[in-house]
């Protein structure tokens, strides 16, 4: 690595594994208590996916697998392509999440 790119070793960024992005009113959020269930209309099915997000941008899509009780995210797609079709996981506008009180 060239000297002028060594700063990239020091520059930490936050990588988040996000299942979905949802939206709810303040009072609904405030009323949530232990045991409540939020159903979100993300069909992850047999092939559940998470978005790896940096600074609000999807940099990769990963498939979630489980082995020996440990969840792993295996990257299936990288780069700009993964930032497409946000409507599959970004439910802020579709409003398809529902809250069920326990």
């Amino acid at each position: 690595m060239s000297a002028n790119k060594q700063w990239m070793n020091a520059a930490n960024v936050c990588l988040s594994a996000v299942v979905a992005r949802i939206c709810m009113p303040v009072d609904t959020l405030a009323s949530l208590t232990n045991g409540d269930i939020i159903e979100i209309d993300v069909d992850l099915g047999a092939d559940p996916q998470v978005r790896l997000i940096v600074q609000g941008r999807t940099v990769a899509i990963a498939t979630v697998t489980e082995r020996d009780g440990v969840l792993r995210a295996t990257i299936s797609q990288c780069g700009p392509e993964s930032d497409r079709e946000p409507e599959k996981w970004d439910l802020r506008k579709s409003g398809t999440e529902g809250v069920r009180n326990s």
Partner: protein
């Protein structure tokens, strides 16, 4: 219950020398108290409609500061009293009903006021008559608490007692706000007084804040409907840009918390959830409410 005192009541407009420690009140706040107690009188007249002679109303006469002992001695020949405390405040007080008024309430309730003598002297009350007075006092105090609560002072009468030894009772040397009411029944003027601790003045001062509070409630209603964007997070890592740039399909990241996820908004963790991946839906079961700033 009745206690007898024999000193004359001073004239309302009597100019008295200012005594050290006598509380003072600003005109604006006095006006607010006046307004509240005119409402108290109206509400009492409605609440006691079955106890008052037809067409008669209780009227608010005015307020003054007096020591509780003086008030007890000047309120009338005989007094029926109950002490009370206002809920969610340190405000307490006493309701003092003159024997004349108590007698009037009883006779009206029994429907025999017209037959009663206009002479203010009266015999001791029977058990039934005492029960009627108690019920009237209960109505008066309930109505008083409700009117105060409407004005932003307390949340109703917390409890009351007719026992003068009750811990709620005011100390005799306390300066209290004396709020005088009357029922005109010519040729007599029957009196009813509230002696209330002077911290009610500050509570009425809070009335302005309370009015602002009503506005902020409507702001609160708008705020409660504001949408909050929430990320359902399965993991979060800090890594150097170089490491990030080398990520490629097939790389595996161990999700640190298993099936545990959390809801996050703007870097603030709101609550932990368990994620279940269903056939067509994803189920988040709330595990624990927490508030944690990620930067901590």
């Amino acid at each position: 219950m009745p206690t007898r005192n024999h000193q004359a009541r001073p004239a309302q407009d009597e100019q008295r020398k200012y005594e050290l420690w006598r509380p003072i009140i600003r005109p604006q706040r006095r006006a607010a108290l006046d307004r509240i107690h005119h409402n108290v009188a109206d509400d009492w007249s409605r609440a006691l409609s079955e106890y008052l002679p037809r067409g008669k109303h209780i009227e608010f006469e005015g307020l003054s500061f007096e020591s509780y002992a003086t008030l007890n001695h000047t309120n009338g020949e005989a007094v029926h009293s109950a002490v009370f405390a206002l809920e969610r405040t340190d405000i307490g007080g006493a309701l003092l009903i003159s024997a004349d008024l108590a007698s009037c309430l009883v006779l009206s309730r029994l429907g025999i006021l017209e037959e009663a003598s206009s002479d203010s002297s009266h015999k001791a009350f029977t058990r039934i008559e005492t029960a009627i007075i108690r019920e009237a006092m209960r109505l008066l105090l309930t109505s008083l608490g409700a009117t105060y609560a409407r004005a932003g002072v307390g949340a109703g009468v917390l409890r009351y007692s007719e026992r003068s030894k009750d811990p709620l009772a005011l100390a005799s040397h306390d300066y209290v706000l004396a709020l005088r009411f009357r029922l005109e029944l010519p040729p007599r003027s029957l009196t009813l007084t509230i002696a209330v601790t002077r911290n009610i003045i500050n509570a009425v001062g809070d009335l302005t804040v309370s009015k602002l509070g009503q506005g902020s409630q409507s702001t609160g209603r708008v705020l409660s409907r504001l949408p909050v964007e929430i990320d359902v997070m399965l993991g979060e890592w800090y890594l150097p840009l170089t490491e990030l740039s080398t990520l490629k399909p097939g790389d595996t990241i161990v999700l640190p918390d298993g099936e545990d996820a959390w809801l996050s908004t703007n870097g603030i963790t709101l609550m932990k959830v368990r994620v279940s991946f269903g056939q067509h839906r994803t189920i988040l079961t709330l595990k624990s409410n927490l508030y944690r700033n990620v930067s901590e």
